[in-house]
């Protein structure tokens, strides 16, 4: 029995390796806010959400597989949360009643495993009931497969079979063990056997050649003897204890997988509900294969910013199909960084099968998302800032593959503009020539201008808007890079030098 709610053909690896740039992504895209909202205080949900968000899918098919399941969830939030309670309940009961297999001795391993199984069987019956009652409202292939599996595998006859085993494993009639002679004539291969039921007619029973039986009893006060018999019994039931304990473990891990995979959708529900409260739209993105060049959206807002401000924020639009390079220049505090973050966050959300914060969104998948942001001064004092930036870039290059997406934010500016521009130019040119998509926010006019002059058809130039009065709209428009970033405006604002303060 497989859950398969995150992949059509395999389990989700909650402890799988995350890409090496994970920490940088969390920091640069401020993902903590997103993850906190998805978790709603539940550390487990946070772990699941983090893992899913950061281990991006590259196959549009799988993304759509999750999108359809998530759509079912958005339509039936209560049923999904009730189902999610099954594995949660198993966990809580285990903790509350100290259930679990902790012993090293077969007899206690066996009895704890039997107890665990009894508890699981109850929950599995409950799951079966939920599926029977609400299954019809789910239409995604993922949920349909899962529900059909529950209906087929967990029928009444099966529950009866399990229960009869659980009864027999209490051994009211003693233990029958077969054994062989091992090294030094010591007994080995102790195997617990099911006694043969008497069968055949009385003639067969009388004439079948039966073995002689030798027996002895230990005296009531022979403690060593009693201990020896206990050990022998342990050897005998070792394998069956293992089999029962492993079965309990299998069901336990089935429920754990269910908790993880449903957990992802519950976390998505949490986010969707928050965004609905704020009044922000969500949309299922259209994923394209990694080798396509698509980046077109309307009303794309920065989800984390909306969550932080707790109100709707300015959205942007882009027609970036066929583009490998998007270079963003313009006014300071004009929304460039926010825009860049919204690109990154949307990419991650799309590639884990979620909705995105936009009216509509289409993009190609990337083989890896990377951020290269300018950082605070290196605290370790080991290397200069520019040296540090180049070091980080070099590390990113180690991991890059074609069709990756790299977001640069004010990179390589820790030197004079001329040098910085030249180094950045060489890096960016090399990346796009190697089939890597680049979004580059910069105030280095020389860098942006030189790319503009090249007249590349696969490059797009955006400018943060600034109205005549110096006011920002936080909207980005296509346009040729301009030689100043209007830093004066910001300076004036900070130092309150202008008497003509606009509203």
């Amino acid at each position: 029995m497989k859950v398969f709610l995150l992949y059509p053909d395999r389990d989700f690896a909650l402890k799988g390796d995350l890409p090496p740039q994970t920490e940088a992504l969390i920091q640069d895209l401020e993902l903590d806010i997103l993850l906190d909202t998805m978790a709603q205080g539940d550390t487990f949900l946070r772990t699941v959400a983090r893992q899913a968000l950061l281990s991006s899918l590259e196959d549009p098919q799988v993304i759509r597989y999750r999108q359809m399941i998530l759509q079912d969830c958005l339509n039936n939030p209560d049923t999904v949360r009730e189902l999610y309670q099954i594995p949660v309940q198993a966990l809580i009961t285990k903790q509350k009643q100290w259930l679990g297999i902790f012993s090293l001795y077969p007899s206690s391993i066996l009895s704890s495993a039997v107890e665990l199984l009894e508890m699981f069987v109850g929950l599995l019956r409950k799951m079966r009931r939920i599926v029977d009652e609400n299954g019809e409202h789910f239409h995604s292939p993922g949920f349909q497969r899962f529900f059909n599996m529950i209906r087929q595998e967990l029928d009444e006859a099966y529950f009866v079979e399990i229960e009869s085993h659980l009864k027999e494993l209490r051994f009211r009639d003693g233990v029958l063990i077969s054994a062989e002679l091992g090294m030094g004539n010591e007994g080995q291969n102790y195997v617990l056997c099911r006694p043969k039921r008497a069968k055949g007619n009385w003639m067969e029973r009388v004439f079948s050649k039966r073995s002689p039986v030798y027996s002895f009893s230990i005296p009531p006060r022979d403690d060593h003897g009693a201990k020896a018999i206990g050990e022998l019994r342990d050897r005998g039931i070792n394998s069956v204890a293992n089999a029962v304990a492993q079965s309990a473990d299998h069901i336990d891990s089935f429920l754990n997988v269910l908790r993880v995979e449903l957990g992802f959708y519950v976390a998505c529900l949490n986010l969707a509900e928050r965004l609905a409260e704020i009044g922000e739209p969500i949309a299922f993105p259209e994923p394209y294969p990694a080798n396509a060049r698509v980046h077109t959206f309307r009303g794309l807002y920065e989800v984390c910013l909306a969550l932080t401000l707790n109100r709707p924020v300015v959205g942007n639009e882009l027609n970036g199909d066929g583009k490998d390079l998007v270079m963003i220049t313009g006014a300071n505090q004009g929304g460039k960084s926010t825009f860049l973050r919204s690109i990154g966050v949307a990419q991650l959300m799309m590639q884990c099968g979620m909705f995105v914060g936009a009216e509509s969104f289409a993009a190609n998948c990337c083989s890896g998302l990377f951020t290269h942001y300018k950082r605070e001064e290196d605290a370790t004092m080991k290397s200069g800032k520019f040296d540090e930036e180049l070091g980080r870039m070099s590390e990113i290059v180690n991991w890059l593959k074609p069709n990756a997406l790299v977001l640069f934010n004010e990179s390589f500016a820790a030197t004079n503009e001329h040098e910085g521009s030249e180094i950045a130019r060489q890096i960016v040119k090399a990346l796009i020539d190697r089939g890597i998509k680049v979004f580059f926010v910069t105030h280095m006019y020389e860098l942006a201008h030189r790319f503009y002059e090249l007249g590349l058809t696969n490059a797009l130039f955006l400018r943060a808007e600034r109205q005549q009065d110096g006011q920002r709209t936080f909207k980005l428009r296509e346009g040729e890079p301009l030689p100043t970033s209007f830093g004066q405006d910001v300076f004036q604002k900070v130092f309150q030098l202008s008497q003509q303060q606009p509203l």
Binding site: G174, I177, E180, L192, Y214, Q246
Partner: protein
């Protein structure tokens, strides 16, 4: 060709059980300890304390060591050794046991392992091309042994008895304090049924809940009683075991037992070597000569290499040669530069060569010395200076009284606690005597004067990196001792060399 020992071709020297007193000075005590540490049960140390004195035996051993570069052969011998360990363990166990069929059972196991060990070794060695007299003779011996009537009968019977016992399967029924035993009648394994029922939940690998109920062999009275019942259920099988036990009490051949111990002399050393070789260091079989013309290329201190075998730190190999009238190496240079290590290495090489073993280095031609003498400063000596000086001189006197022109002398910082003038005077006196003796000597000293004593002395110097005098190279090279190396290192440490001063003063 009659085989009796893999260490001695003809006459053997009685094993020396005490380590030579100069061993700790050369750190050979550590080396031998490391070599034998994992092989305690063989009592190998005496073998390393007892070097042969003739070139013939050295060559007999070197041939064997050369044959042992064959991985297949080593594998066969190691497998043999492991099996023999088990044979001894099982026999010892059997001796100690209380219940008859238990005791006979372990005796049978020992016999089976022994028989298989012999057959395996015969097969393992058969296809290997050998050229040493020792191993060829042993292989022939083993072949004859394997095909002897006695061995063949012994092994065939052991296997037959075991097979019969292995076919036995019985049932035990435990209920409260009662144990019933009967033959097995085709009952099915219950754990398989349980697994089948729950198979649909299988989620990939889970923990193994099999309890580790293994314990050192033994049998309690309940198990012994059960075994007795099993013997009653299967009387023929156990009668055969009885017969085997009575007939085959001394099945281990004496020559095999001796080979089993002595081959470890080589294997233990090869294991020890292998760990050091993994660091990229080489060993070679030296040419051992009776003439005074020696050289070694890329050699190193074995004890140091062993200590650092798992460390990143590199071992720096060194070269030396002494030809024509050269006899005495005078080593000077900065402290901590590898001088003492070099001196130890010189002694180690000659001792190991004499044992007939491979030595550190890519190539070596070494002298067959009669004895090794060392004089190292004794740290624990707390007597006053004059007392110490006298003690030093007495020890050197003792050495000179006993050394011959075929001996090797290793002197380390002698007279370091007397005045400079005294030290020069005394050292020159001693050096004169050593020179007259015509023995090989390595002398670590801070007295540059000794290095140009006469045509027999050769100067070697420990060196520092040209651009950073604080960093040692651990290279000891033939070079006049002019005291500059040490001065250079101090100057550089204080950043006062020409280049540094130029670099520090900018326009």
């Amino acid at each position: 060709m009659n085989f009796f020992s893999i260490l001695w071709e003809q006459k053997e020297i009685n094993e020396v059980t005490l380590q030579p007193e100069w061993f700790p000075d050369l750190n050979l005590d550590q080396v031998i300890q490391a070599i034998t540490a994992r092989k305690q049960e063989y009592n190998l140390k005496p073998l390393y304390y007892t070097p042969p004195n003739d070139l013939l035996t050295i060559r007999y051993r070197q041939e064997i060591a050369r044959d042992l570069s064959d991985e297949g052969l080593i594998g066969a011998l190691k497998a043999f050794a492991e099996q023999m360990v088990r044979v001894r363990r099982y026999l010892a166990l059997s001796d100690k046991l209380d219940y008859r069929y238990h005791q006979e059972g372990w005796f049978l196991e020992a016999a089976l392992v022994y028989g298989k060990a012999m057959v395996d070794l015969g097969e393992g060695m058969s296809s290997i091309s050998l050229s040493s007299r020792g191993l060829l003779a042993f292989r022939e011996f083993l072949h004859r042994y394997l095909h002897s009537q006695a061995f063949e009968t012994f092994f065939a019977e052991a296997k037959k008895v075991k097979e019969a016992l292995q076919r036995i399967r019985y049932c035990i029924i435990l209920q409260n304090g009662t144990v019933r035993v009967r033959r097995y009648e085709g009952e099915v394994d219950y754990s398989i049924e349980v697994e089948k029922t729950f198979a649909k939940f299988k989620q990939g690998a889970v923990k193994d809940y099999h309890s580790d109920l293994s314990r050192s062999s033994g049998m309690n009275h309940v198990e012994a009683q059960i075994l007795d019942f099993v013997a009653r259920l299967y009387p023929e099988e156990f009668a055969a075991l009885d017969r085997f036990y009575r007939r085959q009490q001394n099945f281990v051949d004496e020559t095999i037992a001796r080979f089993d111990r002595e081959i470890q002399f080589y294997l233990a050393y090869l294991d020890f070597m292998a760990e050091i070789q993994r660091k990229g260091l080489s060993f070679c079989l030296p040419q051992v000569v009776a003439e005074k013309d020696i050289a070694a290329h890329q050699t190193f201190d074995l004890a140091l290499a062993h200590t650092l075998r798992f460390e990143k730190q590199e071992i720096v190999p060194n070269d030396f040669y002494l030809r024509d009238s050269e006899r005495v190496i005078i080593i000077t240079g900065p402290n901590q530069g590898g001088k003492t290590t070099f001196a130890r290495m010189f002694g180690q090489l000659h001792y190991l060569a004499k044992l007939g073993l491979p030595v550190p280095g890519r190539e070596a031609r070494l002298f067959l010395c009669d004895q090794i003498f060392t004089h190292f400063e004794r740290q624990e000596d707390l007597r006053n200076l004059s007392g110490k000086l006298q003690d030093d001189l007495e020890r050197i006197r003792h050495i000179l009284d006993h050394a011959t022109s075929n001996s090797i002398l290793i002197l380390n910082e002698v007279f370091s606690s007397t005045t400079f003038e005294d030290a020069v005077f005394l050292s020159k006196e001693i050096l004169g005597k050593i020179s007259d003796l015509d023995a090989y000597c390595v002398w670590v000293t801070f007295l540059d004067e000794l290095s140009t004593f006469n045509e027999k002395t050769v100067s070697m110097v420990s060196t520092v990196k040209p651009d950073n005098a604080v960093e040692r190279t651990y290279k000891i090279i033939r070079q006049p001792a002019d005291g500059l190396a040490y001065a250079f290192s101090l100057a550089e440490k204080h950043r006062l060399t020409y280049r540094q001063i130029v670099g520090r003063i900018r326009s």
